[in-house]
């Protein structure tokens, strides 16, 4: 017992999403759904039509003359820095300057100006009327282009342990290869949107579909030359984020804020889907070159990875993303000697950004490709190769526990999970059955693969690992909760509400959770890196503990148990309501803030040493695929997933994250193909051409389970583990299963590049 009436880490109830009933009835309001006050103005962005070059001349007279147009925003309208870059200030908000010098055009679809008009339609129609003359230059689009032009965001970054080259050289067997990995569009169903409303005294209120309200606040403040205290950013919910709203909402919110400031009226900018897809960043396309030395038993002795990230035109979060790809180049495998070098290519594409996994998925896929290659060379079952290279299990001698970046893996449970899953999914039996089936089937071929994931939890930029919360208890005993995390569908609000309810021993319905606002909790980090419930849950818990301690002291109890609406202590018992009421009359404060900073973190990027992660989350999946060797088409037949979420804060929400993450990962590696033409124009800028999975793409049979034994060895909130990102990488098993089936068709190992579209599958066959 920890004093709350709950065992530490007991799984909480599988309640539906906090807005589940409002979602289905259509009552849940997203930013675009708020009633529009009279006089609201609307914006549309004018985007560049070349990928690289200079603006020679710009004629916006037709735009200004179009019906309904009130104003055109260009660089000169921005009183401050005219920049929306989150880390480095290299992203002009409006590239076009009519009186001064326009910024260089860096990608096709870059924002040049914004039209402010009386209606969305008027703004959008007018934005098309600009006449811009460019001096176009040859764009740098691919990793090869960037290498040829020497175009990089920074120097390469290197992590190494031991002498990898020597280890490879000395190994009995060697493999060397390359995998090209495509990017991924977030395709959050709700596009980017912001509504800015001028308030008294020059203050601004901004509703934004952002995962990072504090940053939107800062960006607006810097650009409008306002103190942050004058800008309030609010987010009740987003229609999906997936990382695509971590920084990419900055420009949208800034444009709306600027229009509100200039016109004195509420202003809204909602991007059209095609513009959203063209303008905003995506998952980084990667190329990974690898080289490994191993023995005939498939034991890896040394590896070298060279990772090439296509970062697009600006820095955005690319440094941290490319770092995370490096941190995950080992996935769940111990490399006795390793060297990982990362190159960050700057190209004339949209600025690649955060996307669920944040570089991790690309790193993990590189590791899994390597394993598949080792299996092909040694003739072993790939699962056997995986087993032989896992990090040492938790509690074992830590001789095989050191990562290439110098952190010890102390909590490794991958072996247990994989064994349990291989057993329940009958991996071995099915693999034999499939081999026999393939023998008798000349056209259709099946393949099966198991892939594990180990994912590091924490922002690797250490200072971001902090969170705040505000808990208010009213005289009637009802509780209002606020924290810095944003709700984008992941169920954070519900989980945190359940944490607070458990702390106070109340029914969750007694705890109301309200919109995230920068005027309630300041200086928050983005809801990202899967950290939302870990950090905000802890911050809320601390605030609750503070209030409980005050109530207990007021009751004269040294130690009190809050459970089922009652408070019990040595020598007394009362109800929550009565205690709250009497505490109020005794002038005891019933409001508290909570603050949490993740412990144990000490990562030093400069010396490439320390501990970037608080802990690791683990999981594994087995997928079976069926491939048509005449067309390259395929279908997923079955998937079995076992994932570790520690002690679940809400098993229903966690299962949803695991299943949804898996399918999103499958989409990334199968049908979701981004295609930029030779002029740098995105050709797949709408759901008609960019294909995320539909219900029919889901494996015909699917079993998703949370690992019953899961319990975080670290003191996280109720011993849970973060769940947002790790399951995405389970989708890699589907890619590998398709590869296995293609290999069966080819009669030899047939590595694929990603995404494995039907075309890539067929063209890989002899």
């Amino acid at each position: 017992m920890d004093g709350t009436g709950f065992e530490a880490g007991k799984t909480l109830e599988a309640l539906p999403h906090d807005s589940a009933f409002a979602h289905v009835s259509g009552e849940a309001r997203y930013a675009d759904d708020m009633p529009e006050p009279p006089g609201m103005v609307h914006l549309a962005l004018g985007l560049s039509t070349v990928a690289r070059g200079r603006i020679l001349s710009a004629d916006l007279s037709a735009v200004r003359a179009a019906p309904g147009v009130l104003h055109v925003l260009t660089a000169e309208d921005v009183p401050g820095i005219n920049d929306t870059g989150p880390v480095v200030h290299d992203e002009p908000a409006f590239a076009l300057s009519e009186t001064g010098e326009s910024a260089e055009i860096m990608f096709h679809g870059q924002c040049l100006f914004a039209v402010v008009a009386t209606s969305r339609e008027a703004a959008r129609l007018a934005a098309r009327l600009a006449r811009i003359d460019y001096e176009a230059a040859e764009p740098i689009l691919t990793i090869d282009d960037a290498v040829a032009a020497g175009s990089f965001l920074s120097e390469p970054y290197r992590m190494a342990r031991g002498d990898a080259r020597a280890a490879i050289e000395a190994a009995p067997m060697r493999a060397k290869g390359r995998i090209e990995i495509g990017g991924q569009e977030h395709f959050y169903l709700e596009g980017q949107v912001a509504v800015a409303t001028p308030e008294e005294g020059g203050a601004l209120h901004v509703l934004s579909s952002t995962q990072h309200p504090s940053e939107v606040q800062a960006v607006i403040a810097h650009n409008l030359c306002l103190p942050s205290s004058m800008v309030t950013v609010e987010v009740r919910r987003m229609g999906g984020g997936f990382g695509g709203k971590e920084t990419q909402g900055n420009l949208i919110a800034l444009a709306a804020a600027l229009a509100a400031r200039i016109t004195g009226k509420p202003a809204k900018l909602r991007l059209d889907r095609d513009d959203d897809m063209i303008l905003t960043g995506k998952r980084h396309p990667f190329r990974i070159d690898y080289e490994a030395g191993f023995d005939a038993e498939g034991r890896i002795l040394g590896v070298r990875f060279e990772q090439w990230a296509n970062c697009g035109w600006s820095a955005d979060l690319s440094a941290a993303i490319a770092d995370r790809a490096m941190f995950h180049a080992d996935n769940a495998y111990f490399y006795p000697a390793a060297e990982i070098v990362s190159h960050r290519c700057r190209t004339n594409l949209c600025s690649m950004t955060a996307f669920r996994g944040f570089g991790g998925p690309q790193g993990v896929l590189g590791a899994e490709r390597l394993i598949a290659h080792v299996a092909a060379e040694t003739g072993l079952d790939p699962l056997e190769v995986r087993r032989r290279n896992f990090y040492a299990p938790m509690g074992a001698m830590p001789t095989r526990s050191l990562t290439p970046y110098g952190m010890m893996v102390e909590d490794c449970v991958i072996e247990e999970i994989v064994e349990e899953l291989a057993e329940s999914a009958d991996y071995a039996g099915r693999r034999m059955e499939i081999a026999a089936w393939n023998e008798a089937s000349p056209v259709l071929k099946r393949g099966i693969a198991l892939s594990p994931v180990k994912f590091g939890i924490s922002f690797t930029t250490t200072h971001l690992n902090q969170a705040g919360a505000l808990v208010l208890v009213y005289q009637d005993g009802s509780v209002l909760l606020n924290h810095g995390g944003t709700e984008m569908g992941q169920g954070l609000y519900r989980k945190v509400q359940q944490v607070a309810a458990a702390e106070f021993g109340l029914d969750p319905e007694r705890v109301r959770i309200s919109a995230t606002r920068t005027d309630k909790v300041p200086n928050t980090s983005a809801t990202a890196a899967s950290s939302g419930s870990d950090m905000n849950g802890m911050a809320v818990k601390k605030a609750c503990e503070e209030i409980k301690a005050r109530i207990a002291a007021h009751l004269g109890a040294g130690f009190a148990i809050f459970d089922k609406g009652r408070i019990v202590w040595q020598g007394g018992e009362t109800t929550w309501e009565a205690a709250v009421k009497s505490a109020y009359f005794a002038r005891v404060s019933l409001a508290a803030t909570g603050f949490y900073a993740t412990p144990k973190l000490a990562w030093d990027r400069a010396t490439v040493s320390g501990r970037p992660f608080y802990y690791f989350a683990y999981g594994a999946a087995v997928t079976e695929a069926l491939v048509d060797s005449l067309t390259g088409e395929y279908r997923l037949l079955r998937a079995d997933i076992l994932h570790d979420v520690g002690r679940s804060l809400n098993p229903a929400i966690d299962l949803g994250q695991v299943e949804g993450g898996y399918i999103q990962g499958v989409g990334w590696l199968t049908t979701e193909e981004l295609d930029w033409d030779a002029k740098g124009r995105l050709r797949t800028h709408a759901p008609s051409t960019y294909k995320i999975p539909t219900a029919g793409d889901r494996p015909e049979r699917m079993s998703v389970r949370l690992w019953a034994k899961g319990e975080n060895r670290e003191l996280t909130i109720r011993r849970s583990k973060a769940v947002g990102e790790p399951p995405l990488m389970l989708g890699i098993s589907a890619f590998l299963a398709i590869e296995e089936a293609a290999s069966a068709a080819a009669g030899a190992w047939t590595p694929l590049d990603a995404p494995a579209t039907p075309e890539r599958v067929l063209m890989a066959l002899p």
Partner: protein, 490 residues
Amino acid sequence: MSEGLRFILNGERVAAPGAAPTTTLLDWLREARGLTGTKEGCAEGDCGACTVIVRELAPDGALRQRTANACIQLLPMLHGREVVTVEALGGAHPVQRAMAEGHGGQCGFCTPGFVMSLAHAWETGASAEPEAVVDQIAGNLCRCTGYGPILAAASAARAAPAAAPDHEAALSRLRALRRDLTLTLDHRAEGARFLAPRSAEEFAAARLAHPEATILAGATDIGLWVTKRGFRPAMFLWVGDVAEFGEIGEDEAGLRFGPAVSHERAMAALAPLAPDLGEVWRRFASPQVRGAGTLLGNIANGSPIGDAAPALIALGARLTLRRGAARREIPLETFFIEYGRQDLRPGEFVEFVDVPRPADPMDLRCYKISKRFDQDISSLLAAIHVREEAGMTTLARIAFGGMAGVPKRARAAERALLGRPLDEAAIAAAAAALDEDFTPLSDHRASAAYRMRAARNLLTKFYLERRFGDIRVAGRGRAKPLEDAGERHV
């Protein structure tokens, strides 16, 4: 004299006299009516977030109900019909309860659209088996859930006891409205016009008088021009209120479809002709788009990647073109002259397509290849119609989509097959002849090399299937190795 634009919204009559003809139903619902439960995810008919139910009176007086993408339905197309939005379901509909309790939504943005698709299936008594539900929601994208809980909610909703939908009441509302709307809709607002003739004669005359007008059918294509390209024509001429245009004729020789027959209705009529026709239409877009879009619209706008044309060309379909009172009939394949150009004269329109019945349903096999299996535009579509009699190939009509700027017959390949036994050598010759027939292009859907290789392989596949039965990974006739394994490992 003409009627004002009127329809029924969630049970109540509404009028929209001042709405521009290009106003979409979605914008009108959200902006004019404040009904924000219907969401915009793409404004092009591909995500389903804007799904609503549309009810109308069929010519026989029955209730016809479908789902539609409000984002690409132009408001005047609703004239005389009934629109049901998520708000009307009240929150306690069995589908809503099952979705909420069964974790069918995460971010919730797609949820109202799924609710409407599932409510439509529920109301019309469609199957709640996962395989059927997958089709029912093929036009709804969800980025969060992975769909499992939604499929489960569909069947949970079916299990729940529930009151019958108010179809009788809807019928009487629609009948009453129809009685009041006796005249042609000639809606004029914001400098544009939307004319909805009520008879074929009236339509032909209007077409002749307004050759510049944009003929509108389901707006599944033109709706996108409006939302994405700023298309604002001076006049629409709509086929949807012409009663005869919605008819499907059937006799011994085959089927006849008018310009207002939706894909969904065409699919039901075509499927018995050949199983693969049903499959082509099932994979054609989504239920929302199939319910609105028309077979003739798909042909008339000359899309190079439309799936309807190659399949119908392989069957030997013929078009009837009408200009005023004059009609001419042409083989479907000659209608497509080149990319973006059809054999259509000023003042003329496509009045019918006649689709002959194949001698044997299995004489026709169609293969659609796309990046994503459902609701995707073909990279390649092959329709292979081959008849063997007394050991010889006596008929070969092979048409491809995606291999040229227009849907096109593979005449050289046909010649390679005709008049000889259908064997491996004949197939190899036909495959080689495809080089003569086509020089495909590379685009974001597929490369030229892939298109050609897959096209050749599809001839092989056709041959193997003819000899050994279906060999498919998905869709109709797909292999079921898990079931064949006797559930041994599950």
